[in-house]
């Protein structure tokens, strides 16, 4: 049984971890800042202008963006896994991230860049793309109201490929000069320029996470199967709709700014489940914090590993995620879940 106290403690613990990793991340980067300079900036003391600009103008917004994106993608992963009753579901596997990326590419080419309004607009278009993709997966995979693992994964792959092809089509028609930029974006990029995208993303993620968390208890029961959940008093159809939209919102609002980053929504929920169990009332906040921490870590690695060049953060998450996934496959899934 999960108590309110446990939920608070778990959330608090993971928040501390996030703060610690973020603090470390603030001290790392291409600019040669000393630790004391960074500390001075953070404490509001006298510090060289370069340090202040780099820490407050570059690193801090980027770390915030990574944290929010990591949390958002992870909660989307938890939500999709609960919705589909399938531990292999996440925005990337289900093709929802590709749908969001498609929306975002269209939005970018239509000029949605720069202003606050444009940031909202870009998120909205990406959200729409995510919804369409999620709906497509559901329609393709649903067999008599259930979503069997095989058809779900296939539907996700197909939808993802379809939207990737659509993106390819668009970029093949685009000016060569813009092409490079979009290709880099498609590899996943947290290179933020200011706090504006952070604000928009944080708002979207807060709304999405709130909506998902409110259904946490119902999601626990949904794990027993839709019929059983209905028989225990859960309005399953309504819950499914809310989760569907919320998870698409989370995916859309993150991918709109960072491009598609894979493995976060897949791996982090599983790792956290191993530690705290599957009760969503504890899992969701802890996984969100863990996802935030993971992406801050991955992005920091992406920034410093080959400085001054940068690796796409999606590469780091894949290199971390894939081996862990293989490990999961060989240990837990062998025992045959659902």
């Amino acid at each position: 049984m999960i108590t309110r106290r446990q939920a608070f403690l778990g959330t608090g613990g993971v928040a501390v971890a996030l703060a610690a990793v973020s603090a470390a991340a603030l001290t790392l980067g291409a600019a040669p800042l000393t630790l004391s300079e960074v500390v001075s900036v953070l404490l509001g003391r006298e510090a060289p202008e370069l340090a202040a600009t780099v820490v407050l103008g570059l690193r801090l917004p980027r770390i915030l963006l990574a944290a929010v994106a990591g949390a958002g993608l992870t909660v989307a992963g938890v939500a999709f896994q609960a919705l589909t009753r399938n531990p292999l579901a996440d925005p990337a596997v289900l093709g929802v991230a590709s749908g969001a990326a498609f929306g975002a590419v269209v939005g970018q080419l239509a000029g949605l860049e720069g202003s606050l309004l444009a940031a909202f607009g870009l998120s909205a278009v990406a959200f729409a793309g995510a919804l369409v993709a999620a709906a497509a997966v559901y329609l393709i995979a649903a067999v008599g109201g259930r979503l069997p693992i095989q058809t779900l994964l296939l539907a996700g792959v197909i939808t993802g490929l379809f939207f990737s092809a659509a993106i390819t089509l668009i970029i093949s028609l685009v000016d060569l000069a813009r092409l490079g930029g979009i290709l880099h974006w498609l590899m996943g990029s947290l290179g933020t320029l200011g706090y504006r995208p952070v604000g928009v993303m944080a708002l979207g993620c807060a709304v999405g996470t709130g909506a998902v968390y409110a259904q946490a208890r119902a999601l626990n029961l949904l794990a027993l199967g839709e019929e059983s959940a209905l028989q225990l008093g859960v309005e399953a159809e309504r819950v499914k709709r809310v989760i569907f939209v919320a998870a698409s919102l989370l995916t859309g609002v993150v991918v709109a700014h960072t491009g598609p980053i894979g493995f976060v929504g897949l791996i982090v929920p599983h790792a956290v489940r191993l530690a705290v169990g599957s009760d969503n009332r504890l899992l969701i906040p802890v996984a969100a914090g863990a996802g935030a921490t993971f992406l801050v870590f991955a992005d920091t690695l992406a920034r410093v590993a080959v400085r001054p060049a940068e690796l796409p953060v999606g590469v780091i998450t894949a290199f971390c995620g894939a081996p862990f996934f293989v490990y999961l496959l060989r240990t837990r899934f062998r025992r045959g879940l659902a």
Binding site: A216, L232, G233, S278, G336
Partner: protein
């Protein structure tokens, strides 16, 4: 005995859109009764359970629980009165016995996001009744078929229902566990006046345990009555398309149905 039946099904029609339909199903279940629904496969038995728990809604006719139409009860309100022990437990994620039992508290926990100490106490009570209290922290996938069945029963009992619906409660159990479940059900029925509706393809179990039986075939009610009235040789042969022999059990006096096995020459 209270004048109004606990469960009243009147003129219910339902179909999924294919050829099969439930047609004009009507019956009543009295309080504290043990009522069995039997019939060949695909006669609509599981569909009936779904209709009784508002998973589907009848396309015609009405179902009333304690005099109130199901359409007027919220899902939660219904779940506070009716609990289901399904045939199989499918789990997407690992759960312990205690966590499963606590899920049965959901209908009572309106407005509570986290379970309280009372929920835990009731869950433990249910687990004790079902005989799985000492397995509380065990993950379900490490239990035997019988233990898992009792864990699901604990969940149902945690709902504190008036009516318990069981879908093929003994189909995966060995002899000893079958006997245990029957004893448990009888005790619950007698000591707590729990009304039990059980769906089973095991005619002898149904005949032995039930006060009344309903024989369902091809989506229609063929006969309702006592085990002697329903488990009648001619009727069973007609409905099941299989030669049988019905005799009285020397132990309990209830009818026992035996298949008349074919020899090598049959069907030439």
């Amino acid at each position: 005995m209270s004048p109004e039946p606990l469960l009243a099904v009147r003129g219910v029609d339902f179909g999924y859109g294919g050829a099969f339909r439930l047609e004009d199903v009507s019956f009543e279940v009295e309080r504290a009764e043990v009522f069995a629904v039997i019939g060949p496969n695909s006669s609509g038995k599981t569909t009936l359970i779904r209709l009784l728990t508002k998973v589907h809604e009848p396309q015609r006719g009405e179902i009333r629980l304690g005099g109130i139409a199901l359409g007027r009860l919220s899902r939660r309100a219904l779940a506070r009165q009716v609990a289901v022990v399904p045939q199989e437990l499918t789990l997407a994620f690992p759960l312990t016995v205690e966590e499963l039992a606590l899920m049965g508290r959901h209908p009572h926990a309106e407005g509570r996001f986290f379970e309280g100490p009372e929920d835990l106490a009731r869950a433990w009570e249910a687990m004790a009744l079902a005989g799985v209290l000492d397995l509380g922290q065990q993950p379900l996938d490490t239990l035997s078929g019988g233990e898992r069945q009792r864990a699901v029963l604990a969940r149902a009992l945690a709902q504190e229902p008036r009516l318990l619906l069981l879908d093929e409660p003994t189909s995966h159990l060995d002899l000893r566990h079958q006997r245990e479940i029957v004893g448990l059900l009888r005790r619950l029925n007698r000591e707590r006046a729990l009304t039990v509706v059980l769906v089973s393809h095991d005619l002898n179990l149904a005949g032995e345990v039930a006060d009344r039986l309903l024989l369902l075939a091809g989506g229609r009610v063929v006969r309702i009555g006592s085990s002697d009235e329903v488990l009648e040789e001619g009727l069973l042969e007609e409905v099941y398309g299989c030669p049988v022999r019905v005799e009285k059990s020397p132990a309990s006096g209830r009818p026992v149905v035996m298949i008349r096995w074919p020899d090598a020459d049959e069907g030439r």
